[in-house]
Symmetry: C2
Subunit: 353 residues, 2 copies
């Protein structure tokens, strides 16, 4: 008998590389190419560092109130955490305790099976169809909970709100988590449905559309009951999760609606231009409503292309996994960054195809 | 059957009040009365908000390296988290999986039983002796893990390093967590013992002695193996727990050793003066090596005194629990703050005793 016998063994999630060199084009972690709202810089530079000696507000009320005003949802139906990963981890822990299998797609955010494993939650993956669409009817069977991103990652495929509602409506006995990390790039949120279904949790984040991956702020909407249970578990884990700068920066970012809209529009415009150019080079992909495109080229090996891009200081994301090992996930950067990528690919296709 | 049947029900920890009014003397949450090192303000004001668009370093390497240099411990034997609460929560989840009861004192940090409950870990509390000392021999029986603060909270009682080692040495089959949140105010850390016992985890924090409760940074030392397992669980929960400002501020604070030493010395000096004055007023207390004193007055009702202090805009902490409901925990503030408290108490004792 050793202390090691009682350790929770787990195989962690592998995040995308965060290289320390600076002369690279980083299109591998779906970060926003634009800085956060100028008002974020302003509140942070004005912050009184002396106040850091005190604990932050455990309820992060200023941030929750700002989210409440922006989304028109009462503050007690909003949960906040250290990025949407923290929100999702807490949600798995809180809601998926039936002992029954939870369902999520086979090709999806690769943290879901990690959370299921670390909390010893049984799960079953539901294969996307051959076009990488979620089949709603796969989620109608008996289950211990449901979670999927919309748009899905890494595919970018968007499930229309009516089909999402269909899944929720058919599962009154489970909590359904819709992970809307990428919803601001062209999808329609199912947020209004929280008033209709008390078992729906809608999760969003400041990491992508609000350009604040470095600040770690995620949030979720749900019925009062659902959010109450989630907060009970959160306050049983760590009273103060969001630090003082996060609360201030989050509030500032959410209030600058014009900047946010403009930023999302620019990314969507760049994405559509990039799609067109990639199509002309022979790449194929499901339509994406996210800030990335999941592409393959019928005549190119994705693993090789990934390596060759890396050598040219362009980093994209490659998943050496079943069904998707001939795909690359390319984050939408600035127009200038995408042009460098496209110039490289044009040359590459000419040489290799 | 309803979705609610599968919810993890839990009774959360109640943190000390964070009042929103400003004209109060706040001696209730063991915050440091002094601001963090001036270099914290400097790095935060120089921080490039534009960089927040990117994810932070998941390993928080700059902070871990600064801790490594300061403590002379290799970086791969250091774990960091969102306050020591996050570090402790992750540790409970990682190490206490035997199904056997874990042990901790009956009077101690009131988050331990909350973590045990939320993770469904059985536990047994070990009564402090009549002087509120931990009895090491209570921790020699078969168990699934051991955790205690040193100095203990809310008592302030310090267990000499030799006795702590005795507990560790007798428990090779369990992980022993020594929660040293208050160690910098006069105790001697058992940190060197991590090189001798691979099952020892020593947890510390920036919230108290480094004046950064608002920044949420905790850390822990242990054997490579122990820290490796802890990181596996952390990376299975949330890849990026510390945000960019935390990493910078933590690094700056730890490097300013002179400021830190000076700050701790001032608090210890104020504590010793306060002890003397309280004794003269008839208060009794175990000797404290923390930044608080746990006091009672044989002729005064603690609950009443707590209320009366509150009316005078002085907030201390009162725990309406068995064995300690005639005690108040008073955080050490500035000399000026303690003088206001002592003046109030002098008058109060004159009137009520």
């Amino acid at each position: 008998m050793s202390w090691e016998d009682n350790v929770r063994r787990t195989v962690p999630y592998t995040p995308g590389e965060q290289p320390k060199i600076s002369n690279i084009i980083k299109l591998n972690t779906n970060e926003n190419p634009y800085p956060p709202s100028p008002s974020v810089a302003k509140v942070l530079s004005r912050m009184d560092a002396g106040e850091l000696r005190k604990y932050p507000d455990p309820a992060a009320q200023r941030l929750t109130d700002a989210l409440s005003a922006h989304f028109g949802v009462p503050a007690d139906q909003i949960f906040v955490g250290v990025g949407s990963d923290d929100v999702l981890a807490m949600s798995f822990l809180t809601f998926f305790n039936s002992g029954k299998k939870i369902f999520f797609p086979d090709i999806t955010y690769s943290f879901y099976d990690v959370w299921a494993d670390v909390f010893r939650i049984p799960y079953e993956t539901k294969p996307l169809d051959e076009n990488f669409h979620i089949r709603p009817e796969d989620y109608f069977g008996e289950n211990g909970g449901i979670v999927f991103p919309n748009p899905n990652a890494p595919t970018g495929d968007y499930l229309p709100a009516e089909e999402v509602e269909n899944i929720i409506a058919r599962n009154p006995e489970s909590v359904v988590i819709v992970d809307e990390a990428y919803i601001d790039f062209g999808g329609r949120s199912v947020l209004p449905l929280i008033h209709k279904y008390e078992n729906l949790l809608v999760v969003q984040t400041f990491s992508k559309s609000h350009s604040m991956a470095g600040m770690r702020i995620g949030y979720a909407f749900g019925s009062r009951k659902l959010i109450g249970y989630l907060n009970d578990v959160k306050y049983s884990f760590n009273s103060y999760t969001l630090n003082a700068p996060s609360i201030l920066a989050g509030e500032a970012a959410i209030e600058d609606e014009d900047y946010f809209e403009d930023c999302c529009c620019r990314i969507v415009a760049t994405r559509e231009r990039t799609k067109k150019a990639l199509r002309e080079l022979g790449f194929v992909f499901a339509d994406s409503k996210a800030n990335f495109i999941f592409v393959r080229h019928p005549q190119l090996d994705a693993g090789q292309l990934f390596q060759d891009l890396r050598k040219a200081n362009i980093i994209v994301r490659y998943f050496p996994k079943a069904r998707i090992d001939q795909y690359l996930r390319i984050t939408i950067g600035t127009d200038e960054q995408m042009q460098v990528l496209l110039d490289f690919l044009k040359d590459y296709v000419r040489k290799h195809v």
